[in-house]
């Protein structure tokens, strides 16, 4: 795939994800302005920052949906900057979206099977002739899809269209789909958005269980309670720039972070009403 350079040698020694001096400009606007951070195996890393700080843009650069205008993204030492999203997914990087992006008209099980696309062993002739290989791979896919739906604790109907599930359940399906890819690294874009208190507690538990599988987690999240409880490290962005990187304790005390969230008196931002007070 274009842009994917196989560079053996730096395996496993370096970080799982290494973002180096990432830049993304939209015309004159610097959505991401020199972001660097890394994530290691088993990490739970949160990327926080006020609205419009460039968190989702950074995610989109890492997963190939935007082409960064500068900097590098390495996964296990391989440069994936600017590669196709599917090529990056093939490297074991999976993601969810800020606004649910399920395949609404398809069954819940099919949604999860999407994650297995790359691993399913069958071709068009197997499908046309319904060979034993086809049946086997379909059976395995169904079993595995059910396993992931159990894992995320889905209670609703799995055989019906995904759009029929309540919102919180759809969030679970999206995580199950991302997990079915068998990722080394899972990027979750605001997984707690729109969840009620009970669902947030279950999410916290789910995130810990995902981490226990050995999958590194990077999440964008606005719910500070969740972030502080689950993260091992926190990266704080403001106006596309990284303003802090450290443990939850360190970040909580960082004056630059407080300023970003509470604002300075002499500067009045257009989005003042959206500044969270917590």
């Amino acid at each position: 795939m274009a842009g994917v350079a196989d560079a053996p040698g730096t395996l496993s020694a370096g970080p799982l994800l290494d973002v180096q001096d990432l830049h993304l400009d939209f015309g004159g606007i610097k959505a991401v302005d020199g972001l660097s951070f890394s994530a290691h195996d088993g990490d739970i890393l949160s990327v926080i920052g006020p609205n419009g700080a460039g968190k989702t843009s950074a995610f989109n650069c890492i997963t190939g949906f935007y082409k960064p205008t500068g900097g590098k993204v390495l996964v296990e030492g391989n440069d994936i900057t600017g590669a196709r999203p599917s090529a990056i997914a093939a490297r074991g990087v999976s993601r969810t979206f800020q606004n649910l992006r399920l395949f609404g008209e398809l069954t819940v099980l099919d949604n999860v099977r999407a994650g297995m696309h790359m691993r399913m062993k069958q071709n068009a002739f197997d499908a046309l002739l319904h060979t034993p290989r086809f049946r086997r791979s379909e059976r395995q896919a169904t079993e595995e899809a059910n396993h992931w739906l159990d894992f995320v604790g889905l209670r609703g109907d799995r055989g019906g269209p995904a759009r029929n599930l309540p919102y919180g359940e759809q969030r679970r399906v999206e995580i199950a789909r991302a997990l079915a890819l068998g990722p080394r690294l899972l990027l979750l874009d605001e997984p707690a958005a729109g969840l009620n208190h009970g669902e947030k507690l279950e999410l916290l538990d789910l995130l810990r269980r995902i981490s226990a599988l050995g999958t590194a987690l990077v999440l964008i999240e606005h719910d500070m309670g969740l972030v502080m409880q689950v993260s091992r490290r926190i990266v704080v962005l403001n106006f596309g720039k990284q303003i802090a990187d450290g443990t939850p304790e360190e970040v909580r005390r960082n004056p630059a972070v407080l300023e970003a969230y509470l604002g300075k008196d002499e500067e009045s931002h257009a989005d003042e009403t959206e500044v969270p007070h917590d």
Partner: protein
């Protein structure tokens, strides 16, 4: 975003419709459809009705082929008749000018269809769907006009004297034998398209239709898969073209106008995009109805048009819409509980 349908809640969502759909499983439905097709000549075996039935069967094949592109993958193709024309012309030229048997032309037609699919799909499938629709529309016209101007395709008068179908020394050129041969081939084509639709590849096509970005994020190379859908559609169209030439024994550029592409697309939309029983039903409807309306004489196409509008008003999802439904075995509740509490 690919060419997305607006989902209005319809009667297809009611529990009664779901139960009905499950009762009429696709497999059982297929056998019923095949039985109807096989028994039809016993009702009326005049040459006229056999020709109508054969055309309807061919139309079914075209519609399930286009359904791969439009219904499964969500790519709006307005020039599908081009692949049909390529199949008919390639096999027609080889059979008349070079004296090949129609069966021998099949590999060449397959290769030509794949090639045409790659040539037209290669550059255009990178575009978002509105552009694709325009380019395919142009492609359909290019093929027709090329056939109109080349010597080898017989120019405006086309090719005549295409031999009838002969399979393994068996002469199938009589209307009845040809009809049955077509029914068998079309049945295989329908089953094949449906099977592709339920496979890993078919699911990937639907993922692309539903949300291209999310599909890409799941490791699906959307461009390659769209091209695969396009090529599959081309193959179905090309093979139908061979049979079309064999049925009429003469083809000309007038046989492959935009109206054909539009009618095939109409059959897919009318029947229910992505739904095999729907598309088969839609194809039969679109091809047979104008014949049934012959009594209305000059008003035939007027009545046809009004009926289509009425159908689309009352069944915007199509006559037999596709719907996501899978049988899921009853799950033991303790499994879920155990997982949910696992820390």
């Amino acid at each position: 975003m690919t060419w997305n349908r607006k989902k209005a809640p319809t009667s297809a969502d009611t529990p009664r419709a779901r139960v009905l759909n499950r009762l009429l499983g696709e497999r059982r439905l297929g056998w019923i459809g095949l039985a109807v097709a096989l028994l039809a000549p016993f009702v009326d075996a005049s040459n006229y009705s056999l020709s109508v039935l054969t055309s309807a069967a061919l139309f079914v094949m075209l519609a399930v082929g286009l359904n791969i592109v439009v219904g499964y993958c969500g790519l709006l193709d307005l020039g599908y008749a081009a692949f049909f024309a390529i199949g008919a012309y390639v096999s027609g030229v080889l059979a008349t000018t070079y004296g090949w048997s129609l069966l021998a032309t099949v590999p060449v037609v397959l290769a030509a269809a794949v090639l045409a699919g790659v040539i037209i799909g290669g550059p255009t499938l990178r575009l978002r769907s509105d552009y694709l629709a325009i380019v395919t529309l142009g492609f359909g016209e290019i093929i027709r006009i090329t056939a109109n101007n080349l010597d080898i395709t017989g120019g405006p008068s086309g090719i005549y004297g295409i031999p009838g179908l002969e399979l393994f020394g068996l002469d199938l050129s009589s209307p009845v034998a040809f009809y049955y041969a077509v029914v068998v081939i079309v049945a295989l084509a329908v089953v094949g398209a449906a099977r592709l639709g339920r496979s890993r590849m078919g699911r990937a096509w639907r993922f692309i239709r539903e949300d291209e970005d999310a599909a890409e994020a799941m490791g699906i190379h959307t461009y390659k898969l769209k091209l695969a859908a396009y090529i599959a559609g081309a193959v179905w169209g090309g093979l139908a073209g061979i049979l079309f030439g064999a049925q009429l024994s003469a083809i000309s550029p007038q046989s492959f106008t935009f109206l054909w592409s539009a009618l095939i697309l109409l059959a897919v939309v009318l029947g229910g995009m992505g739904s095999t029983p729907g598309v088969v039903l839609g194809a039969v409807f679109v091809s047979v109805l104008p014949e049934l309306l012959r009594d209305a004489a000059d008003y035939r196409f007027f009545v046809f048009g009004v009926l289509l509008i009425v159908v689309m008003i009352f069944r915007p999802q199509g006559l037999w819409p596709s719907q996501a439904s899978e049988r899921t075995p009853a799950r033991r509740p303790e499994v879920q509980k155990e997982d949910a509490w696992q820390a």
